[in-house]
Amino acid sequence: MKVALLYPHILNLQGDFANYTVLQNLAKSAGVDFELTIINSGDNYHFDNFDVVLAASGEVAHFDYLRRELESHLVELQAFIESGKVLIASGTTQGLFGESILREDQTQVRGLGLLPLTAVERKLVYGDNIYASTNYMGEHFDLVGAQICMLDFNYKYSEKYRPFAQLHYGYGNSGDGSEEGMLLNNSIFTGVHGPLLVVNPDLAWKLINYFEPQTRELPRPDFSYEFRNRQGSISYTKRKTSQLDQSKLYKP
């Protein structure tokens, strides 16, 4: 399995880089070769050499630079996504792959234009849990995580550009609606940032199964503690909304 981290010294806000470690550990336990590539400024690389590319959440201040870095790879990045390989872009970095971001000072940051997405920088930060579910590669997954919203996202969904997940609790794209992120073929663009694959390891195992078909015969690894931890997050979220005085809950 070949995994690349896209500019991880620039995009690394919320512990996202740990996502590769869960893929690495699961691959190792399944007897699968694992190859990690770190993509840094000026590196010569080709997207078609990878199965999974992880683009962690980052500061919008650096997106103009990153767009210029990535523009020369745009055609092969499109082909990578079209071929069913997996790009996971989380948090603010969704905006890098969209059309544009309107910053608080009213300047415009141009994105790569791969997604029908515009974003607007928020004046106030909003952080909260997120609890959602998705149908990914034909399988149902519950997802938990956290969301630190620096941008509001306006996705234009269509048959090709579908929501990634349905929200049960959380801010989602812009505080409205129950749709979250975008799924383009198998590539994921989501506000569930940070260690998405670590706290939802069944999703990571799905990626191993997809790229390494021989592992589909293997029993799923024991995720009992991870699932208890995830269940704890879901319980916490439910209790927060049901037992606390609703007037105390912050409305973004």
Binding site: G15, D16, E59, G194, V199, Q243, L244, Y250
Partner: protein, 463 residues
């Protein structure tokens, strides 16, 4: 007239609050005064030359405490918010408390610890010529978002007249020098607890060129001599930074600064940058006698520091108060424990529940920025994961597996980890009694330390 009314009512409110509870009221009377006169700070008409702001992610309180201590020891009259209320209303409260009935302050300098997010609002009314920035790192992401969000806030306090004190080895604060009239860089030499990271580990983007930054070595997490990928922005070489803490000896608790040997009141790495910045500002802004500063180091006692040591029965307990959602302070605590050669036990206290403001949430991500792997080969023999209840967490099951999974991922065997649900304060103490080890490290929040300390003091068992 509005200003004076605000001042008088604020003073009255302060008197009432202090009569009821002398430890409370660090924001209350400031909130009242501001409601009456929203431009209260501006109406104080303070001379910017006599105002010093201390801001940054970590080390604000310790730095302010030490700075005020050294200045007062040399006879300067200082007004400061040492009680730790560092928001807009906290600064107003301090001024209400210290101003006379006409709104005049009898002091040589105002030294304020200022919350980074509050800086723009405070600066709209109250200018400080001198600004000390400790560091700008990931912190309290639920309201601070990303470091660039805070960077932009801090920039609002800097212009061509500003005298900036900046950490030479912390890229974001060092880069602020481009915007200040004058910058004094302070620095810390390599020491026995400096480290390098093995394998791949993300650093941070250059705040000026947006490219990767690499560190030669680290004195603290993401703090050390650095350069960006094209060499266009880097920390100044040692010989170009005069205000430098050197010859650091943690055993002898000493360091040198400008050729003079100082006693180290707290021999932990994060304090070294506080020492450097404070001595720099004492020299260049307050014009204090360094020899007298040296003597005053001996009797400095920090308020609410990050590191507390106490004895319980025959056990030494080291409590690391880390800031939640701040991976750098968590990493510093882990590094410190990994460097301890004596056999010990380590207790982690719920890393994930953030319940200081709404919406409460579980932050399950920031510890993933930390490297726990050093624990595997450390002298820690046993680990305890304390699960605690809170307003929302009526069951410790919600979060108890979070720290446990971090330890497992670091390669710690299950047999060396205990899970312990804490329902009452006696459960903390029982954990100490159950552990065989004579040294116990605890990584947790200050509130838990205070609860344990109050209980043990009541029982007469804390030394």
């Amino acid at each position: 007239m509005r200003f004076k009314l605000a001042l008088w009512i604020g003073k009255l409110a302060n008197k009432i609050v202090k009569t009821i509870n002398p430890r409370r009221g660090t924001n209350f009377c400031g909130a009242i005064a501001t409601r009456i006169d929203p431009n209260f700070l501006g109406h104080m008409h303070l001379d910017a030359e006599r105002v010093i702001f201390v801001t940054g992610t970590n080390g604000k309180s310790s730095t302010t405490n030490l700075l005020v201590h050294l200045a007062r020891e040399q006879g300067l009259k200082i007004v400061s918010n040492l009680e730790g209320a560092n928001l807009f209303t906290g600064v107003v409260t301090t001024l209400v408390q210290h101003a006379d009935l006409k709104g005049k302050l009898n002091c040589d300098y105002c030294i304020f610890e200022v919350d980074e997010r509050s800086l723009p609002n405070i600066c709209k009314q109250l200018k400080a010529k001198t600004l000390l920035v400790t560091n700008l790192q990931k912190d309290q992401v639920g309201r601070n978002g990303d470091p660039d969000f805070i960077y932009r806030k801090v920039l609002t306090a800097i212009d061509g007249d500003t005298v900036l004190y900046a950490n030479n080895e912390e890229p974001r604060s060092a880069s602020l020098s481009r915007y200040a009239g004058t910058t004094h860089f302070y620095s810390v030499d390599r020491h026995a607890k400096s480290f390098t990271k093995q394998g791949f580990y993300p650093t941070l983007p250059c705040p000026l060129t947006h490219r990767e930054i690499s560190f030669q070595y680290l004195n603290l997490d993401n703090v050390g001599p650095f350069t960006n990928v094209d060499g266009s922005f880097c920390s100044l070489p040692a010989e170009q930074v005069a205000d430098r803490v050197e010859d650091i000896d943690f055993e002898k608790r000493s360091f040198s600064y400008h050729g003079m040997t100082f006693n180290m009141p707290y021999n932990v790495p994060p304090m070294l940058y506080n020492y450097a910045s404070v001595l720099s500002i004492c020299q260049h802004t307050l014009h204090l006698d360094l020899e007298l500063c040296r003597r005053s180091f001996a009797n400095f006692c920090n308020i609410d520091g990050r590191f507390v040591h106490f004895r319980y029965r025959e056990k030494d307990i080291y409590f690391y108060r880390f800031k939640q959602e701040n991976p750098d302070t968590l990493q510093s605590a882990i590094n410190f424990i990994c460097a301890d050669q004596e056999p010990s036990a380590l207790i982690f206290v719920c890393l994930s529940a953030i319940e200081d403001f709404q919406p409460y949430y579980l932050n399950n991500f920031y510890p993933f920025d930390c490297d726990f792997s050093g624990l595997k080969n450390s002298a820690v023999e046993h680990y305890v994961d304390w699960g605690i209840c809170s307003e929302v967490m009526q069951s410790t099951e919600d979060t108890i597996f979070d720290a446990y999974l971090h330890l497992r991922r670091a390669g710690i065997e299950d047999s060396r980890i205990s899970l312990r649900s804490i329902k009452k304060v006696e459960d903390y103490i029982d954990t100490f009694d159950q552990l065989d080890q004579k040294r116990i490290h605890i990584v947790g929040l200050l509130g838990i330390y205070e609860e344990i300390a109050a209980y043990l003091e009541k029982k007469g068992e804390k030394r």
